[in-house]
């Protein structure tokens, strides 16, 4: 069955749908966790610490977190490789375009590939910035609240983040509905519901994530 | 030189295969008497099938299932596009699911009578018997026939028949049946049992030692002329209605396969029997390339009329009720708008000839739904005919709910074709003709929803049973090679013809000649025919032919995809076939079915058959282009359905 899946365009789409949904559920949790920032540094930092202690004493320190990270990396890699291979295939299947050009499909649909690339680059920056601190001058491990406030106190930090979240919203808007089609959940009667759900998810994720830099910029969080 | 019209009468042609005995047992008898080919030996036999419509597709698939090696051809890019796909109405079968008194015998009776007693009883009875199996086969293939809420098949009555025996798939029955046959054929292609050549057109028949042994065909993409050899050849290439230029046939439907077979010795039977369908959308101008049929079912609720006054150009809405002539209701009070196709068509022509036609050029009559909408409500009319009204609106840009539709008759089907015996074998041994390509079971007029039935009966059930007999009796035929003189001759003739077409470099297009011959045929060999008109046409056709070979212009070369060359080559054959059609129409001085000779009508103006003189099928033998053919008569004997004069008044 794995071979059947990976050898087929429909199978690769399935991989993308499942991995996308894994990442999407992670993002929903992540976004809700982020909102803890509004309850102050103490709450936020201890939440961040708790993440490392999930499952204790059955699991050791950070094991759960690493488990999640492994799953996420697998999802990202699966999603990206499948996307890359499918895109190559799609471009081969339609080498030359039409002489007479016209706008096709919705904006969200047309930006899936570029949006995906933007998101991949963002994730790299985001990890280097707020997880490892590699590109973050004055990064203080164990003090995420301060690190977040630092990042969103720079114009480029805000710009990168908000642009990426806009890309995320568009990606989720088409991606969620698209995943439903790929997994065969979509049908004519359910279509409106799925589209609404996709829009709601996109808006909630965007609003939730962007509320943090906005709060820092406006001084609500400092 | 003798004139073309000085035909001679040859030996009568006899159907030597039809068994005797009670009619209901003849098909069983024949199947039992037919020799069989050992299943293990079947793969050693190659059968060529030309065409992939209902008849060809079903025959190719079935022969391959039986174990024969099938080599099949279609000029379209895919076998799924054969013109059977355009049939709208439905397919008849004597299932009697409605318990309304239908039976095999009634379908047989209706078909013989509907054909105006010019069909062979044995064949028609077999057709009615097989009709039942066709539905079973198609349902099992996944053909999505209309169903009722209980999950069972729905049927409707069609073409003025009193029982409800027509199975249908909305207005796309032909499409759905063809896709069923195409799917079965596709399965055999995948299995390697059918070798399909798409975009390949048969241009000649190869006859070796008196037997059909192959074809010459042109690859339409590369222009290559190739030969293909087989133990038997089956023509399923459809009818020849396109000789009229404007018809409901597809643009590329043509007569070349059957005409070339005729030139190689196959008799052509009843060429003048053409069916003109009364409800087509009228032409809009010189540019018109084809005509579109509107389902006959519209006449169930629409009322046909023209203005009483000649040259009345007022819009329909401004013509008061008492200035309208509902001529079918007036002339045929019993049947009204539901008279058979030929009668409705002729009546429309008559009122237009009187100058009372409507629309551009006065070539149209109104089909008015105002009363139906008032009686049933717009919603009900929409539910019943919505898709047809939409189609009409798309083509004409007129709203048929607000203004009456305009309709006019158009050539639709050809009952004539290659003469075949009960085994569907032509007069060339090893050459079979099925579907519309043969002169078939419809006599002088085909009933609605019977073309699909006949195509599938021939392809799925009749031919696969009868061809065994031929192959079993000719088990070890000498292999034919390209070096055989007969093959070389056929190839050379084909190449010469194409080269000549390319070489003339004249100043007229193939279409202009096609239109000219078509208009001539419509005028003189169309809905109503007269001796003087037919003679005029017969004088004119050789002149057009001569002009054609002087003035034809075909750009490009023969070694490439060249649609002008394809077209020009088809017109060559129309220019010969047209002549035979006119001669057949001239010689048949009676009226019958779709063939109306003005000299032979009842005092009421109806078609008058003359059974004492013309109760036969006219099978013509080719003797050369423009030279008088030989007429072979097949006498028709009616043991079960006794000829009566049709009356619809």
């Amino acid at each position: 069955m794995p071979r059947t899946l990976w050898d087929s365009t429909v199978g690769k789409k399935t991989v993308m749908a499942v991995s996308g949904l894994i990442m999407l559920s992670y993002l929903v949790v992540h976004m809700m966790g982020n909102l803890k920032i509004f309850f102050g540094a103490g709450q936020f930092d201890s939440y961040a610490h708790w993440l490392r202690t999930i499952g204790e004493p059955f699991l050791h320190y950070e094991w759960a977190l690493w488990l999640i990270r492994v799953v996420l990396v697998a999802a990202v890699v699966g999603h990206a490789v499948a996307a890359y291979q499918l895109s190559r295939r799609d471009i081969r299947a339609r080498p030359g375009g039409y002489v007479h050009k016209r706008a096709r499909a919705s904006y969200a649909t047309r930006t899936m590939r570029w949006g995906g690339i933007i998101l991949a680059l963002f994730i790299v920056w985001h990890i280097l910035d707020l997880t490892t601190g590699t590109v973050h001058s004055g990064f203080r491990p164990g003090h995420p609240y301060q690190n977040v406030v630092d990042t969103f106190s720079t114009w480029y930090g805000n710009t990168i983040y908000i642009v990426a979240m806009a890309a995320l919203a568009l990606h989720v808007q088409h991606g969620f509905w698209s995943a439903a089609q790929t997994l065969g959940v979509g049908n004519a009667t359910r279509d409106r519901l799925l589209k609404t759900l996709a829009n709601v998810l996109a808006v909630l994720l965007f609003a939730g994530f962007v509320s943090v830099p906005v709060a820092v910029m406006t001084g609500v969080v400092s | 030189m003798t004139s073309y019209t000085d035909y001679t009468a040859g030996e009568p042609v006899v159907d030597g295969r039809a068994p005797q005995g009670p009619i209901a047992e003849r098909w069983d008898t024949r199947r039992f008497e037919a020799k069989l080919v050992n299943p293990a030996n079947r793969r050693k036999h190659t059968v060529i099938v030309v065409g992939t419509g209902l008849a060809g597709g079903s025959a190719g698939a079935t022969l391959a299932e039986q174990g024969y090696h099938v080599v099949q051809f279609c000029f379209q890019d895919s076998p799924r596009r054969a013109h059977s796909i355009a049939a709208q109405g439905g397919i008849n079968a004597a299932k009697n699911y409605r318990n309304d008194g239908d039976s095999v015998h009634r379908l047989f009776y209706d078909t013989v009578k509907g054909g105006d007693f010019r069909a062979r009883e044995s064949n028609v009875h077999r057709l009615a018997q097989i009709s039942v199996e066709i539905i079973d086969q198609c349902v099992a293939q996944g053909v999505p026939f209309a169903r009722e809420y209980g999950g069972l098949l729905d049927t409707r009555s069609f073409g003025g028949v009193q029982v409800s025996r027509t199975f249908y798939a909305r207005g796309q029955t032909g499409q759905q049946l063809l896709l069923g046959a195409y799917q079965a054929l596709s399965r055999q292609i995948a299995a390697g049992n059918v070798e399909l050549h798409a975009r390949t057109e048969m241009l000649d028949l190869i006859v070796v030692d008196g037997k059909a042994r192959g074809i010459v065909a042109r690859d339409l993409v590369t222009g290559r002329i190739d030969t293909y050899f087989a133990d038997a050849v089956v023509l399923a290439s459809g009818g020849y209605g396109n000789v009229f230029y404007l018809s409901t046939n597809a643009m590329n439907s043509n007569a070349t396969a059957i005409w070339r077979a005729h030139r190689r010795g196959a008799y052509f039977a009843n060429p003048c029997f053409t069916q003109i369908h009364p409800t087509c959308i009228p032409r809009t101008g010189e540019h018109q390339s084809k005509l579109t049929l509107m389902s006959e079912s519209l006449r169930n609720d629409g009322r046909i009329w023209v203005p009483k006054a000649k040259g009345d150009t007022r819009p329909a809405a401004e013509i008061p009720e008492d200035e309208r002539d509902y001529y079918l209701e007036r002339i045929y009070p019993a049947f009204g708008n539901l008279v058979p196709r030929d009668i409705a068509s002729r009546a429309a022509k008559n009122v237009c000839d009187e100058g009372r036609g409507v629309g551009p050029g006065g070539q149209g009559v109104y089909l008015d739904f105002a009363d139906a909408i008032a009686r049933m409500g717009r919603a009900a009319v929409e539910a019943k005919y919505g898709n047809l009204f939409d189609m009409y609106a798309r083509i004409t840009a007129e709203d048929p709910y607000a203004t009456p539709m305009r309709i006019y008759p158009a050539v639709h089907y050809t009952m004539g074709g290659l003469w075949v015996d009960y085994d569907l074998q032509t007069t060339v041994p090893g050459l079979f003709a099925i579907g519309e390509a043969n002169f078939s079971d419809h006599g002088a007029n085909r009933l609605g929803a019977s073309a699909l039935m006949q195509g599938l009966a021939d392809g799925y059930f009749v031919l696969p049973a009868t061809i065994n007999d031929y192959l079993a009796r000719n088990p070890h035929q000498e292999p034919v090679t390209a070096a055989h003189p007969a093959v070389a001759e056929a190839v050379a003739e084909t190449e010469d013809r194409l080269n000549l077409l390319l070489a003339v470099d004249g100043d007229r297009t193939p279409d202009s000649f096609h239109r000219e011959i078509g208009e001539l045929m419509w005028e003189y060999c169309g809905m109503a025919r007269t001796e003087s008109g037919l003679r005029k046409a017969l004088d004119r056709i050789p002149q057009i032919r001569e002009e054609f070979w002087r003035r034809i212009k075909v750009p490009g070369s023969g070694e490439e995809f060249n649609q002008s060359l394809e077209k020009a080559n088809r017109v060559v054959d129309y220019l010969e076939l047209a002549e035979l059609m006119c001669l057949d129409a001239l010689h048949r001085a009676e009226s019958c079915g779709g063939h109306f000779r003005e000299e032979s009508q009842t005092p009421q103006g109806e078609a008058e058959r003359r059974d004492e003189e013309f109760s036969y099928a006219a099978a013509w033998q080719f003797t050369g282009t423009g030279t008088a053919p030989v007429l072979h008569k097949e006498d028709l004997v009616f043991e079960y359905v006794h000829p009566t004069q049709r009356s619809y008044a």
Binding site: A93, R102, V185 | A250, M391, F561
Partner: protein
């Protein structure tokens, strides 16, 4: 009306093509688009030039032969086949671009004619019910619920024209393939081959070099027969179901 046509001309599969410009005059609004091209071709023939090659046959919107991209739209601005598109959809003085279907799996044969035999091979891979002639049970032996019969019909309406592929930015044949899979898989007669059918047809579709589906919906918008986009989801569902079952039966 008078029109300027820019038409893709390409001698054969191996030659490069380019747009060529032609003027046509005296075009009637009642002409179909193909009759307008007939007019052009008559003029070209008389001028000794090669007429524009294009596929067409029934001209009633059912055979699926006609296949033109007109001003960037498969079958042009109306939701119908090219043969049923009339010139009243255009205005005097318009410039109209006419191109062939574009997809690797539909190589150009000449001018506006493409090779769609890949569609036939998808059907050959499993788009049928295996029932040899004569082996069919009585038609009423298996009633089919009307809703199922209607779904089957809705999908069976596909004419195999390829507009879905032409319109798809990925050159994907998912809508075409799903139409046949759904037509046959929803019927009880199609049940025995339900799994192999979808797996084999999707496999063949991939082998032919069609692109994958990104659910842009362009195919369903272009489809002259209105095969709906959810057909694709329904086929995906069939495919996943078949993949799970295929493991069990060791296929």
């Amino acid at each position: 009306m008078k029109l300027t046509l820019r038409v893709w001309r390409q001698k054969n599969a191996d030659s490069p093509g380019a747009m060529a410009t032609y003027e046509v005059d005296d075009i009637s609004a009642d002409m179909s688009f193909l009759e307008m091209l007939d007019t052009l071709n008559e003029e070209l023939t008389l001028r000794g030039e090669e007429p524009v090659a294009f596929d067409h046959d029934c001209r009633e919107g059912i055979c699926g032969a006609c296949s033109l991209v007109i001003n960037g739209d498969a079958h042009g601005p109306e939701r119908t086949t090219t043969c049923q598109l009339h010139m009243r959809s255009f205005s005097d003085g318009d410039t109209i671009d006419v191109e062939p279907w574009r997809a690797s799996a539909f190589p150009v044969v000449k001018d506006l004619v493409v090779d769609r035999s890949s569609f036939d091979r998808i059907i050959q891979a499993g788009g049928y019910i295996s029932v040899p002639t004569g082996a069919a049970p009585e038609a009423h032996a298996t009633p089919v619920p009307k809703p199922d019969a209607d779904v089957a019909f809705e999908h069976a309406e596909c004419i195999g024209c390829g507009a879905c592929v032409a319109a798809c930015p990925n050159g994907s044949a998912m809508l075409f393939t799903s139409a046949k899979v759904n037509h046959l898989n929803v019927l009880p007669q199609g049940a025995p081959e339900r799994e192999t059918r979808v797996l084999d047809m999707v496999g063949q579709m991939d082998d032919e070099g069609f692109g994958g589906c990104t659910l842009t919906g362009e195919c369903a918008t272009a489809c002259p027969k209105g095969i709906p986009l959810p057909s694709i989801a329904a086929m995906n569902k069939e495919w996943l179901r078949a993949t799970r079952k295929a493991r069990k039966v060791g296929r």
